[in-house]
């Protein structure tokens, strides 16, 4: 490749972009560069359906003119390209209103430390033929899990090696590399004209971390277990939520704990710091340095050291998540939660990895505690069904009935509804079997028992 993708090249491009921005009239500037190599394999019916190899790189520049700030990004890292990009960022800043809390972040607070294990050489060292075999194996395991498995829509495998670098006019600079690999599939089980689906997935730093047997079996077993599903009656009852569902909920809770939404009065957690509002069983931490979490990094999207921030514990709201802007505005310290989706977007406050502290009970024990209720394995329609401002939600769900403390017949086409704060307070126990789930961000979570939830069915 001719493009700049080594960390040193990216840092150099970022430095030139910062210089170009200050030359174009910025009083301060920050540049974030990224380079990546990725591949994606899609397998269907035992054959490769598509194979993608890609490289990408780009730079995003945040420019300040006093307390006005603007952003621009581009993929052209040549001198004229960076000059155009810098001028666009400065031009954008001229449109913004002044904001006394807006300033280029200084490197303050914790020193940035290396985190071991963010990059696994397994991505680079695994031949494409091997990852194709892994994807094919996952599909086969799903088929073998039950005779009623009639298809797999596709098995998707993706891995990526990436580097990121930051430079600011206030002396911040640094770079790091990371790798990631994940795979997922949707299996279909059929009986007569009925079709049910089941999802399986795995995430890690390298294809070696993915367990084809577990991923394939999860999808196959879930699809076949849903055959014969009926709609439950509307009622309020105890509910056990699978780790996928608790991960999605944790994502919304984490989002509502981001200080920008809190400060702008758009969070159900606004003005509640220190209040007792959750069950003591629900302990939530934002952890940006756990090597197992794919969002981990030595520093965040504006160069501040990432760290570990307890959010809910002993039932109390312990902290909000901050970047440098919300920290300045709220008289707090940045928690290192300035995130970037990519160089194409400016940093904004977001969760890193969310960890829900596991409890003592196995899934069987949680079901036993529930007695008569519903085990919700899957939710749908989250983006329209959860209102992050009010905290109210009503989402589609499917799962299994719980009868006499054990899993009974499959259930589908119902809704669960409530509000996030009420649900947090109603958590009775978190399970002991936790895993990384890529829904709701990057979440390590377990199933949990909620004392009462509204089920909308027939």
């Amino acid at each position: 490749m001719s493009e700049a993708t080594t960390p040193a090249d990216l840092e150099d491009a970022a430095r030139r972009a910062v210089d170009a921005a200050t030359a174009a009239g910025a009083s301060d500037a920050e540049a974030w560069g990224e380079g990546s190599r990725s591949r994606e394999v899609r397998v269907h019916a035992g054959e490769v359906e598509s194979l993608t190899e890609a490289s990408g790189r780009g730079v995003g520049v945040r420019a300040w003119i006093g307390s006005r700030t603007g952003y621009a990004y581009g993929t052209d890292l040549s001198e004229p390209g960076l000059a155009e990009l810098a001028a666009a960022a400065v031009g954008a800043a001229r449109v913004a209103d002044e904001d006394e809390n807006s300033a280029a972040p200084d490197r303050s607070g914790e020193a940035v430390a290396e985190i071991a294990g963010l990059r696994d050489d397994g991505v680079a060292a695994t031949a494409t033929a091997e990852v194709i075999d892994l994807a094919k194996r996952i599909e086969q395991v799903a088929f073998d899990s039950d005779t009623r498995i009639t298809g797999v829509e596709e098995v998707v495998y993706v891995d990526e090696d990436s580097d990121a670098a930051i430079v600011t006019s206030r002396g911040v600079s640094g770079s790091f590399g990371a790798s990631a690999a994940y795979s997922f599939l949707q299996a279909m089980a059929s009986q007569g004209s009925e079709v049910q689906t089941g999802l399986g997935f795995g995430v890690g730093r390298s294809p070696r971390a993915l367990d084809s047997e577990q991923i394939g079996a999860e999808a196959g077993e879930e699809a076949s277990s849903m055959l014969g599903a009926t709609k439950p009656e509307s009622r309020s009852c105890p509910v056990v939520l699978s780790e996928r569902v608790t991960a999605s909920f944790a994502g919304f809770i984490g989002g509502a704990l981001c200080a920008d939404e809190v400060q702008r009065g758009r969070s159900p957690f606004a003005d509640r710091l220190g209040d007792e509002l959750a069950s003591a069983a629900y302990v939530l931490v934002d952890d940006g340095i756990d090597p197992g979490g794919l969002a981990s990094a030595p520093f965040d999207g504006e160069g501040t050291a990432r760290g570990r921030t307890p959010l809910l514990g002993d039932g109390k709201l312990l902290a909000y998540l901050h970047d440098s802007y919300t920290a300045r505005r709220g008289g707090a310290r940045s928690t290192g939660n300035a995130a970037r989706a990519s160089y194409r977007s400016p940093p904004s406050v977001s969760t890193s990895n969310l960890l829900i502290e596991p409890g003592e009970l196995s899934l069987e024990q949680l079901l036993g505690e529930a007695g008569e209720g519903v085990y919700v394995t899957e939710v749908a329609g989250l983006h329209s069904g959860v209102n992050p401002v009010t905290g109210r939600y009503s989402v589609g769900a499917s799962g299994r009935a719980i009868r006499g403390g054990e899993l009974a017949k499959p259930l589908r086409e119902f809704t669960i509804a409530g509000d996030l704060l009420g649900t947090l307070a109603a958590v009775q126990a978190v399970g002991s079997e936790s895993r990384w789930v890529p829904f709701g961000g990057s979440v390590r979570t377990a199933p949990m028992l909620v004392g009462e939830m509204t089920i909308g069915g027939s």
Binding site: M1, S2, E3, E47, V48, E49, S50, L51, T52, E53, A54, S55, G56, R57, G58, T69, G70, Y71, A72, Y73, T75, E84, L85, A88, A89, A92, V95, A96, D97, D99, T150, G151, E153, Q196, T197, S234, S236, R264, P346, A380, G381, H383, S384, V389, T390, R392, Y393, S394, V395, G396, S398, R412, E413, F414, T415, A417, T454, G456, G457, S458
Partner: protein, 465 residues
Amino acid sequence: MSPDAPLVEPDVAGRVLARALSKGGDFAELFCEERRGFTLSIDESRVERPQSGSERGAGVRVIDGEVTRFAHVDGLVEDDILRAADGLAAALRGDAAEPVALRAAHPPRLQEIEVDPAAVPAERKAEILRELDERARSAGPEVAQASASYSEGRRRVAVFNSEGLQATDDRTRVRLGAQVVARRDGTVETGFETLGAHRGFELLDGDPARVADQAARKALELLGADPAPAGEMIVVVGGGFGGVLFHEMTGHGLEADAVQKGASVYAGKMGEKIAEPLLTAYDDGRMPGEWGTGAIDDEGTPCHRTAVIEEGRLTSYLYDRLRARRDGVESTGNGRRASFRDLPIPRMTNTYIQPGDADSERMISEVERGFYAVSFGGGQVEPATGDFVFGVSEGYLIEGGKVTKPCRGATLIGNCLKALARIDAVGSDFEMKTGFCGKAGQTAPVGTGQGHVRIRGITVGGTSV
């Protein structure tokens, strides 16, 4: 690069295609793209987050039998694109295939823009946002927060393939969105409204700040809402964004990739009656100015108007080239890609239910007890099972043939085939709205539309049991 220069010269494209097929393969394609955009927000009455972006890149694919090989690179440097093509060829072992010489590009029916948004000073865009902010805040003392955003984007694409096709498109879109948070005692409600089109800045002529009025009205209206009921009832769906119901319920299941894998409840139903004869629906990528419109799709096929349901019968699936070839039919011009970083897949463009002859007020007056879903926050469907769910952003109870109390927190849930068959009235009113559709990790602008539609029975999920 000047904003109107060709993205790549045809001789460069010819070399890329030849290299991509140098070790065999049935088909090769080069997709080039340049995207420029600008977004701006207002929040807490402060204009903020100005963002300007530009990117260019290319995607090369080779289809060999049933296997697609794809590579993409940032930038439009010939050497980088050739390297990507060589990487694809390196996996094949056959003899070189000869691409057909590129034909002179048909002059496409390009979009006509009255006012290029990129030429409008950013201050004017800030001014419009300030108008929205003022209008939202003046809607009443219970308005606690208002925010709004403006976005413009220009996407130029060029497609070249080994069958000699050469086509370009130049798509400009402008969109405005407003969000209002209203507060009364301990109750908080939100309202959201958008205005968007495949048009230039002229979209915002007249009174764009009406978007803020509408968002504020929704939030304020909901302050008096009761919890939504739970259970099965007759539902009247509003026009415009109500069309997202058809988009999710039927449109996704008609996309040929899902159909061919047996992962759609509409598979094997071509020609069958799946709805009452009053229902006719189209996917139309040519509707002037609509959000999902283009001259060509992202494989160079001219956009079409495809009747998907005619008088209750299923008449067509939605195809890209690959899936059309498998079924031995022509592409319907639905091969869309989120960017040069993505493979084309069958996607809807603008999908709508053709207006019927029912009067929307009469439709409601015939309902003794039901639910009026005026608008949705969005929805999701699992095409394999047909199970869908929609979040209602504005909904009311219907009691004794009249729209009565607003309801908060309602969700509609059901199964596509059952719900589609239960549509028993289609209104004569009609409106199109904008949406963003997500599929396989790719986001595409889509239009949805309809008049009022009544469904005889669907499950409403709320908190009131």
